[in-house]
Amino acid sequence: MQVFKLCLMIIYKNKATLLIYIVIFMVVSSFMSSVSAKEMEDSTSFKPVKTEVAFFSDEDTPLINGFREELADVANFVDIPDETVALQDALYYREVSCIIRVPEGFTKKFMNGENVQLEKISIPNSTKNVHIDLFIDKYFNTARLYVQNMEGITQQELVRYLKKDLSETVSTEMVEDEKKTSDMASAKYSLNFFAYPLLSVIIMGMGTLMLIFNDRDLKMRNNCSPVSSTSISMQFVLGNLVFTFLSWLIMLIICLAMNFRNIFSPNTVFHIAGSFVFAFCCSGISFFIGNLTNSHEAVTAAANVASLGLSFISGVFVPQELIGSSVLKAASFTPTYWYVRANNTIADLTVFSYEALKPVLNDFLIIIGFGLAFFSASLAIRKAKTND
């Protein structure tokens, strides 16, 4: 088993490069799981969503104070200094979704029935904006009804009426969603992200191995050794598979450790199966790339371009729902797309019947098909190269 041992030794020597990807993976998954853990609160009663708002008023009147008090039902007030750059920054980083300013003389004009407006700076066309707009619109339009139809109404009276009116709300019923919502969300993200380091590590590792074995002198030396070429090939393939398996296992353990909360659900079993199938496909891709490249620099370049490219277009970094349909169509010609799709379907599964699992199994078969295609293509290239 000299060849097999050599494979493992070469990989061991290159461990630093491969470790970088594993470290990146750990950092990102821990970051992501901590972020999504916060979003996991799920409740059975309806809670209106609040929007972050910066509120500035150039006047202090009962009407505006009443408005501010009611606005608190739909808004969280954020304190930011009233300076252009600070306001622009707050808006850019989404610290606030809009900035409302009450100009001086607003109340007086409003009570006189004149046309007045609040100033609002916001992220154009955002949904949160619509939410706040609706509120402002309903508050002042309701107030206007009183001002126009009750002569001599005071601000205090007006605010009192409005308070009563605004307490009349529709009854809200929450129906239970059958789907489990966000509980698998963080696991799903980590598992999707899994595709990137797995591809990088396997392409880099296999590429390095193949470079060394394809070296002309070394090849000639190996060919004259008293070991049959079949045995050399078999040991080489075994070495590659062991490497693929180990990389997959190490990263899988990290991934599961980061998402230990969900580890005991049946979904996890299918996630693991999916990642294993994908690891096989990665091994095919790397075998293919290894056959096409002839220098260490080329392997690094190919590993980066292939892993980043496949990951970007198929929804590894950015969720598939946010990617344009034409990009996704192109992505469906890559295995990563099917891997991510299978993961997304698995995360939403609650029933594990054959019917429910059918789309997942189909995706798995497609990934295996890609893997086999890459292996066959590489063998064809090898054959062509030997004939040259």
Partner: protein, 378 residues
Amino acid sequence: MFIHVFAYRMKILLHHRETIFWTMFFPLILATFFNMALSNLGSTEKFSPIDIAVVDNEQYRQNANLRLTLAEVSEGDDRLFNLSVVSAEEADKMLKNNKIDGYIVAERPIKLVVNKSGLNQSIIKSFADNYMHTVSATENILARDPSKIQNHISSIEDRVNYIRDVSSSGAEPNTVLAYFYSLLAMACLYGGFIGVREISDIQADISPVAARVNIAPVHKLKTFLYSSMASVTIHIAEMMILLAYLIFVLKVDFGTKTALVLLTTVIGSIAGFSFGSFISAVTKKSEGFKVAVLLSITMACCFLAGMMSQDVKYIILKNAPALLYVNPANLLTDAFFSLYYYDTYTKFLTNITILTGFIVVFCTVTYLIIRRRKYASI
């Protein structure tokens, strides 16, 4: 002499495929991927009409007011809802299949059925509440003076807009752009690859080319200066290609201050080159090691500047803002961003001044290390 060194250095660099790949093609490829993956990101917070249903029961048919109000907000391009009028069973089914965000049942009081507490659901609720408030206000007003009925109806009908949208600056606070700016910053710092080569090629104990250059009867600093000029020229040309690709092909908005954007790119390119030279001069190991150091620092800088996630930059901005000013990738990203976003030049000037300071420091240290170096034996 200048032309000789300059021209040959150009030739050498242009023939070095690996360097050209990392400094030019890799950023171009990455920009293309960014464009594919991020082009829809901005649309997630954009408002699009909410799908709702209303149950077609007896009360709904009799409630002309509600029907009219719903019809009004479900028409036109800037409509609030995509409304379907369906039976109760159908509405239930639609909600279950996530075809709608919620449905309204015209009872007294009006009932809203949803399946989660989201922003869209809150908007539907806010709308339905509004209807209730008008009803309540009507009762209050008419209780006090029933003769106002006609007047009141006409007040309800002419709704007034109480909001005036004021723009904070000429530019939209588009977060996706920052990813491209930090990508351009990364590409500028990748000029460091050329810087590393430049220093390696004058250190006789590191490369054979350097050994040959060292025995030539030319002042070493002059050769270095000339060949550095060739390197910087190539990198600036690469950055201009990238910038053109971003602006004309990917349609990334850099704002209107084009001359300053070009200037920033040139300064960024020089900063990248001097940074690479600096790293190469202070680390006295093989070129592979120098590249690894350069790459890790560049990547860490880009990560902290928000290239992978804007949240990272925001966390730093809130907790350790000083860190933003010692990170060259961030200084560049912010410089591009300030040109696009702010009306004033204060932030831009601060960033560019600090970045220029970095260039001076890098160049001085590099000079102090490489000057007068002699090789007794290699």
